[in-house]
């Protein structure tokens, strides 16, 4: 997997116990031929989530698996806590 760090629009649910946000669905631009077109992906399976602090930025990295088109793919999403921002981190 390679770092892509592309911004995404995300819908998240928050855990009962510690309130950790879990991605539910996200939209990303430029999936098809039109760079402005948005593709919606439902997060199928969150295999693991880790808290990281690379370069001092507290973040949560989610290792996910979803059907994109008709292919099942592994990818990582990242929520950057101090900036309240979601990105498609690795693909």
């Amino acid at each position: 997997m390679k770092i892509v760090a592309k911004p995404i629009k995300t819908l998240a649910v928050f855990q009962y116990d510690d309130g950790t946000p879990m991605p539910y669905k996200f939209k990303i631009k430029g999936g098809g031929s039109d760079p402005e077109e948005e593709t919606t992906v439902t997060v199928g399976n969150i295999l693991r989530c880790d808290r990281t602090r690379i370069a001092g930025k507290e973040s949560i990295v989610y290792h996910c698996q979803s059907f994109i088109g008709d292919m099942e793919k592994r990818y990582e999403l990242k929520y950057i806590i101090p900036e309240c921002r979601w990105v498609l981190y690795k693909m």
């Binding site: 892509v4 592309k6 602090r53 370069a55 001092g56 930025k57 101090p82």
Partner: protein, 415 residues
């Protein structure tokens, strides 16, 4: 005592590199000729730090971007991001804090840790240092050098031995082998001037210095001679002082301008903008100052300064500005001015200021006004309220300072 000296390797550059990699930047700045430098259009084009490949081109910290580009035309340059550096420094500190609370934050990228009360570290210093180094590398994405010694000096000298991403020890029995063969300039507290004097007497290595007679050194270096002689022998009895306990002796604010200041009025306005921040910093420390110094540098880069010891102590921006203005007009010879700074020292606590018969009337009112303005700026941002004299002018109402002065490099630390 067991001391670790933890130093981030080419801090600014590796912190920027780590952050860029996380943002999907495709190359690691640390592996190509690259540098962190100010914005060349803003006259701040000075190399702050460079990568190891850039060092091979002879690029030096402190030289201008133009000179550096001549040496290496393909040099990749990034601007500094002080907020990021503060975050990285905090993250590094928080990892170290898990091992010991006795940490002296020596600068934004350097920490001394007193590990004497960490049994694990006493048992296996190199093992614990290795764990810290690897944790920083994996969790924070940058490398550090850790120096281990019986005191701060040995730890620091050990940390400087070979970079990057290394652990070195400098125990008393290793001083002769590891420290003494190094050139005398490498020793902490030996600068360019001291080196020159020592070389005149044939003292070229740290070993030469260690073996010299202290009285002889005292003859031409005075008390500094004794200090460097002790350092050369690995003797340093200073404690690891936690920063909260460090007494700050002075503070100041200065700026190099993008244009020359020509008139007394211009100088006064810029001086006021500098004093705004000096005053705010002084009040944030809850101190009042007894000495004001103004330093001017003309466009031909000659600098001179004047200072005034006050009969009492002052704390308001107005009082600092009045004194600074008087000092500046006393020494200014009418030539164009390129850079200015205002600093204050000889502090006493704000609530212990001795009132005097000769204080100007309205002092208390001014103090209250300053505190109110400070609070407004704290809540709504520092540009939220400023003096009418700066209205419709190009001059920024508050000048100088990095990261709101709340920056380790500037003598402050995150509270």
């Amino acid at each position: 005592m067991l001391v670790f000296h933890v130093d981030a390797n080419s801090a600014y550059l590796s912190w920027t590199a780590a952050a860029l990699l996380e943002d999907g930047y495709d190359v690691d700045l640390r592996t190509i000729p690259s540098a962190i430098a100010g914005d060349p259009n803003n006259r701040h084009g000075i190399i702050l730090t460079k990568s190891i490949p850039a060092k091979k081109y002879g690029i030096m910290t402190g030289e201008s971007l133009m000179e550096a580009r001549k040496k290496c035309p393909g040099l990749i340059v990034h601007p500094p991001d002080y907020d990021l550096y503060l975050d990285c420094s905090e993250a590094m500190y928080s990892i170290l804090y898990e091992y010991t609370p006795q940490i002296q934050r020596y600068s934004v990228d350097e920490n001394f840790c007193d590990m004497s009360r960490c049994p694990e570290a006493v048992r296996d210093p190199v093992g614990v240092a290795n764990e810290i180094k690897e944790r920083i590398k994996h969790e924070l994405g940058f490398t550090v050098n850790i120096g281990i010694g019986n005191n701060k000096l040995c730890a620091k000298m050990a940390g400087e031995l070979k970079k990057p991403d290394m652990i070195h020890t400098l125990w008393p029995e290793e001083i002769e082998d590891k420290l003494w063969p190094l050139p005398v300039r490498e020793l902490f507290m030996v600068g360019r001037a001291t080196e020159k004097k020592l070389k005149k007497f044939g003292i070229n290595t740290i070993g030469d210095l260690a073996k010299a007679q202290p009285e002889f050194l005292k003859g031409f270096l005075h008390s500094h001679g004794i200090l460097v002689h002790q350092y050369a022998n690995g003797i340093d009895n200073t404690e690891v002082t936690v920063n909260d306990e460090v007494m700050q002796k002075g503070l100041g604010n200065g700026l190099t301008y993008a244009y020359d200041l020509q008139t007394a009025e211009e100088i006064a306005k810029e001086l006021l903008a500098l004093c705004e921040r000096v005053g705010a910093r002084l009040r944030r420390k809850k101190c009042a100052a007894g000495l004001v110094t103004v330093h001017l540098r003309s466009s031909d880069l000659r600098g001179y300064s004047h200072q005034l010891k006050l009969p009492g102590h002052i704390g308001t921006t107005d009082e600092i500005f009045e004194t600074a203005k008087a000092l500046a007009s006393e020494m200014w010879r009418g030539e164009p001015i390129r850079a200015m700074s205002v600093s204050v020292s000889e502090f006493c606590r704000e609530d212990e200021v001795q009132l005097s018969m000769f204080d100007k009337t309205g002092r208390e009112k001014n103090e209250r006004l300053d505190h109110t303005v400070d609070n407004i700026r704290k809540i709504f941002g520092e540009r939220s309220i400023f003096r009418g004299t700066f209205a419709n002018l190009d001059i920024s109402p508050i000048q100088g300072g990095v990261n709101d002065g709340n920056y380790l490099m500037m003598g402050g630390f995150k509270t």
